[in-house]
């Protein structure tokens, strides 16, 4: 019996190891191969467990059936435990679980690896669609996300209204798009093609229809597309529609900035960490939080870039930041506010 079950489970394991697409999906981006490997490992271990458990249960049930003519007082073997057996069926699962945990942690650390990002972009969910923002492209692009092949991509996802999900099955990655929160997924596309982006959190009546296209282009095709959308062909760097006159920040007054922050900013921004949102994010650690995402303009959080947003305002999917004119502040005020924010970030 044990041998028969061994043959079945080994056959199942060989199937899971050699099958080209264990999830029935192509691998279109970098972490998908690792996820598939982990899945194969789980499927092999799971096959052994299922085959042995189900096999022995069925075998015991048939082999130890009460004989037809058994007397009414026919009973089974009166044993209560078998310490050696119990020791092993505790230790073996523990070892398997430890192995699984280690493998998962390793894969997770590569998924969360931030090194070598080339394209950083945003995906915004709304009822019922997706739009995508690229550096240096002024307007968000609906329904179609283009990425260049063999290029590490970072996607910050968020939502304009309720929680949505961002899932590309062929990439094997998923993040919830939560209003007021920015989640991040990173991948490197490896296979040119068009894939589906699917919403995986219930978001309203038409949730089932909420989808978009992920187009993995060759690098040349991506550059062509990017230029056609109004980008200038190089990714990253400074830009967005917050570009404009630089503001002289020297000599900003912290106290004056604090007073002004109370009047002009605190209705929408807290001085807590980024995640402590009111309408906009908390600004207390805008310059010293190493995990701080890019500014709303797509720029790195530096004093000069913050000053640019204060000066010119910003209008996008995540929200609206009124300009200096709308807020009735001048360049000196901006310098004072930035000085105040810099002082906060030193605590």
């Amino acid at each position: 019996m044990t041998a028969l079950l061994a043959i079945i489970s080994i056959a199942a394991s060989i199937f899971w190891i050699v099958v080209p697409e264990p999830l029935g999906l192509v691998e279109a981006a970098d972490p998908s191969g690792q996820v598939d490997t982990l899945f194969r490992f789980l499927a092999v271990v799971g096959s052994f467990i299922m085959v042995y458990v189900a096999g022995y249960i069925i075998y015991f049930t048939i082999a130890f059936r009460r004989p037809k003519n058994a007397p009414a007082n026919h009973i089974g073997v009166q044993i209560h435990d078998a310490p050696i057996l119990e020791f092993w069926w505790t230790v073996v699962p523990t070892v398997l679980v430890a192995g699984l945990a280690i493998a998962s942690v390793q894969i997770l650390s590569t998924i969360n690896n931030t090194e070598g990002d080339v394209l950083t972009m945003e995906a915004i969910g709304y009822q019922f669609g997706f739009s995508f923002r690229y550096p240096k492209i002024a307007n968000p692009i609906p329904d179609e996300m283009h990425v260049p092949v063999n290029t590490p991509i970072t996607v910050h996802v968020t939502s304009r209204d309720v929680i949505h999900g961002f899932w590309v099955p062929e990439v094997r990655l998923k993040a919830d798009m939560v209003p007021g929160l920015i989640n991040t997924i990173r991948f490197t596309p490896t296979r040119i093609g068009t894939y589906r982006i699917i919403c995986t959190e219930y978001c309203g009546a038409l949730h089932g229809k909420m989808a978009a296209k992920l187009v993995i282009d060759s690098q040349q095709d991506f550059a062509k597309w990017y230029n056609a959308q109004g980008g200038n062909g190089t990714t990253g760097g400074t830009g967005g529609n917050a570009g404009g006159v630089a503001v002289a920040l020297q000599g900003g007054n912290v106290q004056a900035g604090q007073a002004l922050f109370g009047q002009k900013c605190s209705a929408c921004h807290s001085v807590g960490p980024f995640t402590q949102k009111i309408v906009g994010p908390g600004l207390g650690h805008i310059f010293d939080d190493t995990t701080h995402p890019k500014l709303v303009s797509g720029d790195d959080p530096t004093p000069q870039n913050v000053a640019k947003i204060l000066k010119n305002g910003y209008q996008g999917d995540i929200g609206v930041m009124p300009s200096s004119q709308a807020n009735a502040i001048n360049n000196t005020d901006i310098a004072n506010l930035v000085a105040y924010l810099v002082s906060l970030s030193k605590h």
Partner: protein, 569 residues
Amino acid sequence: MAVASTTTTVAPHAVLDHIHPEPTSFIRKYIFSIDHKVIGVQYMITGMIFFVFAGLLAELIRVQLMHNDGRFVSPETYNQIYSMHGSAMVWMVIIPLVTGGFGNFVMPLQIGARDVAFPWLNLAAFWMFPVAGLLLFASFAVGAPDAGWTEYPPVSLQGPAGTSLWCIAIFLIGISSTLTGINFIVTIVKMRAPGMTFTRMPLFVWAQLATAGLSMIATTALAAALLALFLERTFGIPFYDPRHGGSPILWQHMFWFYSHPAVYIMILPAFGIISEVLPTFARKPIFGYKMIAFSSISIALLGFMVWAHHMFTSGLVPWLQLPFMIMTMIVAIPTGIKIFSWMATLWGGSIELSPAMLFAIGFLITFTFGGVTGVFLSAVPVDLHAHGTYFVVAHFHYVLYGGSVFGIFSGIYYWWPKMTGRLMSETLGKWHFWVTFVAFNCTFLPMHWLGLEGMPRRVGIYADTHDAVFWNQVASISSFFLAAATLLLFANMIYSFTKGKKAGPNPWGARTLEWMIPSPPPYYNFKKIPAVLAAPYDFGNPLPYIGLERVPGAEGPAVTRTPAPAPAT
């Protein structure tokens, strides 16, 4: 203290012989009864009625999904249907059946008590249940909740008016569940018959003890979350809406801090049922009694430390994913110990394949499968792919239908003669099992690859990629057989009432205390409270009870030892 210590001696105690008179009016006897057995049966009937409605909703879901273009009902209606199916199955069917139903009827009998510790509290807890159930289903009149049984805000803040009714109904059933938890803990700790030490309790009682602890502690978190959702919907107090400073993630933490333990509230009593049925029909002591009891408690404790594994995609910081992933994987170890112990209980048995036993054996196979896919989902990289897909739907139906509902079916076949005094038809019961088992697997197995290949949950319209329509049709047609199989159970109940043979006190030759008294048990359960000398599963030994009133037929066949069969290879 010297006086109290006398109750711990093994001799039956004269004080325990006082019996309260039975109420005479119909209302006090059958409607507002404080008898745990009547309340247990009331839970069973009410739960089974809601089971029928929730099952019909499931069939509507399956009809819609036979085609991918949403031609059967509108998206709005579809969303209400599956949300109500989930809510009703969790809160109005499985939890009330396994705790209020089986727990109330069986547990006090098994510990040799005349009732639970707080019978009036029990009455109050029961009547909250039909009220909550009716409120929940009444929400269809004003637009039922549509955001799934999890009702994540902010979308649930936009939901129809019935979402607020949902909050009230679930709040109410939550209070009922908490009260039952308190009641059961006190009953089990304080009211066991003399000599029934913790290590002599039937395993069903251990399971109810672990479950009661979970209900008592976890449900309060749900109550707070529901209250906040209700206040936000009604008065606009911003707990969850980020536009006004709330946090949608807060709901997820509060909800899953309850709802993960709730999974164990639904499955631990089923474990308890299996642990009674297997030894009885294998005529063997349960293998590894202490390890099974210990693993129930450790699963209950671990259950509080894994809630955020439902939130791996929600934006947990990576370092927080790790402890939740590892704790979740650890749950597999005590669960595995249980499965292996049940397998070992079958080995060398004298196995009688009654319907209760068939469902228990079916449970072992389907629940193990659900457990294995649960480990898949615990690994964060796999969960990032499978979260929110039909893979998850398949997984939890293997656990909740292949686990809890199979356990409930097994328990119904096992304790039906005790509840009604009549036997069911074995033939009909076996048909019920085989059709259910095959149809169940054909319904939910394809959902695994549907999900992995790209079908998300909670959609009435879906893309026909990877033969999605074909596999959904397989699932739908199988689900119609699954529903039809359940009709066999109801037919069997009717058969039993009309033509069923008298069961006698102990039709299965079982050894726990509930089988030592007539069927159905008298109002007072035990004329004399027995004293307990040993654990109940030693079929080779004389019954471990003294001081029981002798009921003809209760002791089962006289025992003789059979030689051990050759070990399996």
